[in-house]
Amino acid sequence: MTINEIQDGIIDDFSYFDDWMDKYEYIIDLGKNLPLIDESEKTDEKLISGCQSRVWLGVEHKEGIVEFKADSDAVITKGIIGLLIQVMSNQPAKDIVESELYFIDKIGLKEHLSPTRSNGLLSMVKQMKMYAVALNLIK
């Protein structure tokens, strides 16, 4: 599936939630059930420091396809990371570079990606794009 197809799928999923409780419970469950990065791999090199929560981002690539792994110590942040990984990972570098992340806004979680929120998420998205840009250039 393309980045936009996945985004549209998430927007559709979220449209069934009636209130913020359901939505956050879903995100929290997503966060709890996603063992994203092994504890031993949570090195300082992969750490993107936010003021409020910490985020780790790892990247691998094979034949132009970029695979991201990320994690956080805060479960809501981790749940949102889960969504971002669904959208951005296992995609061609070129598509990641050109992607427009509209689903976060559409599902009402825009505040989590605000520069003042300092939870590491915005820096993570920037970092993901930087990797993709670099890989795209090498290719």
């Binding site: 409780m21 929290i28 409020q52 929560s53 809501i76 942040t77 939870n119």
Partner: protein, 413 residues
């Protein structure tokens, strides 16, 4: 003057009506504001005084020969006099207006440091300082080759006094310590800290950012050399702060910034500086801020600082008891001597997650390291959830917080 009458009981509902923002909503729910330690809300009197100033009194101060400028100057200087009365300093010119507590500390670190710090000298702070009472000293110490010494804290979040005694030496040039910890609520024994330093002739700066809204400050009784606080934390406007300094120190220190107001005469060969307090107030000051701050201080003085302290003590005791009933909740900062600030963690949850869910319920708390990273490192925690109470905080606010935290914990665990 002391009176024998019992401390009057405050009518909290009536006080809440004085604060327009408390009648508003957040996330579609009635606002439960429990972040007063970061910045307190403003009573209508303060808001009105600022509007009124801009509507009918505004002109630049200290220079105009016309009536309006004279009125603005009088209003501004009345603000200064109200600060003097509030902290009971001997002289009005010992009250310097700054942009806030941070700037006040920076001013002292920079000007005192320039004059009195030399290579190998030592500055003492504590392990529970806000970054604004760490970094300015680090900067001047680096510049001067001086050394920063840190009084350690115990598990309860209290300074270890014996360690402080050991740190004081002939090399100590100044002690700079927080009155009430913003992240723990601990009230430090500053009177004893000052006395001990003075035995060695060492001056003391007390960072009163969190103290002015909770306790009566008497700089003469404390015999403190510098006392700093922000207007916005004591129901006043943002952008105005206070540096109290004893004349002997302020006179000895070089100016902070150059410009208008702070000069007596200027020529290209030699400039002479103005007298206190203007020597440290370069440029047009925050006139409306000083007026608003004066009204804020009058507001709480009229309510009665003892009555406020009594109310906040009740909130602290009630909040502590209720929060501790929540399974897995642990309070960080357990000194017996505490202001109405409760920092806590819940096993198996991250403060950021708790804060995010409380926000959805219309409850404003602070999460994170509260600009005291070294202290969080000491406890080995990423941060805390902090609920802080002020005069307008009600028992119902605390009940909503407790219910909210319980609900958040259920969702997150």
């Amino acid at each position: 003057m002391t009176t024998l009458t019992a401390i009057k009981k405050l009518n909290i509902q009536q006080i809440r009506n004085d604060f327009p923002i408390l009648q508003t909503e957040m996330r579609g729910k009635p606002l439960v504001f429990l972040d007063s330690a970061a910045s307190s809300q403003k009573p209508k009197g303060v808001i009105d005084a600022i509007s009124q100033y801009y509507e009918s009194q505004h002109a630049n101060v200290h220079r105009g020969v016309y009536e309006l400028s004279q009125e603005a100057t009088d209003a501004f200087e009345l603000g200064r006099e109200r600060v003097r009365a509030f902290i009971n300093s001997e002289f009005t010119d010992e009250v310097i207006f700054t942009r806030g507590c941070t700037e006040s500390i920076n001013l002292v670190a920079s000007c005192f440091g320039k004059k009195f710090l030399n290579k190998g000298d030592e500055v003492i702070i504590s392990a529970m300082e806000h970054h604004s009472n760490i970094v300015p000293w680090q900067m001047i110490c680096e510049e001067k080759g001086a050394i920063l010494k840190v009084i350690p804290v115990n598990e309860k979040g209290e300074i270890i006094f014996e360690e402080y005694e050991k740190l004081l030496s002939d090399r100590t040039k100044i002690v700079s310590i927080v009155h009430i910890s913003n992240s723990l609520g601990t009230i430090n024994p500053i009177k004893a800290v000052i006395e001990l330093a003075h035995e060695r002739g060492v001056p003391v700066l007390v960072d009163g950012a969190q103290a002015t809204l909770h306790t009566k400050i008497d700089v003469q009784e404390l015999d403190v050399d510098f006392y700093t606080f922000s207007g916005h934390k004591v129901y006043g406007p943002t952008g105005i702060g206070v540096l109290y300094g004893k004349r002997k120190w302020l006179d000895a220190m070089p100016p902070y910034q150059g410009g208008g107001e702070m000069i007596k005469t200027v020529s290209f060969e030699k400039t002479t500086y103005n007298e206190l307090p203007f020597k440290f107030e370069a440029g047009t000051p925050d006139i409306s801020g000083a007026i608003g701050l004066g009204i804020a201080l009058k507001y709480i003085t009229d309510l009665g600082l003892d009555a406020i302290a009594e109310h906040e003590k009740e909130l602290l005791e009630y909040g502590t008891k209720k929060l501790l009933e929540i399974d897995g909740l642990r309070i960080i900062g357990t000194s017996e001597n505490k202001a109405s600030v409760i920092s806590f963690l819940i096993d198996g949850t991250h403060p950021y997650d708790i804060g995010t869910i409380l926000d959805k319920m219309g409850i404003a708390v602070r999460t994170g390291h509260h600009c005291t990273q070294p202290l969080m490192d000491f406890y080995g925690i990423p941060g805390t959830v902090r609920a802080s109470f002020a005069v307008y905080t009600s028992i119902e606010d605390i009940d909503k917080l407790v219910a909210g935290v319980e609900r958040a914990a259920r969702m997150l665990r």
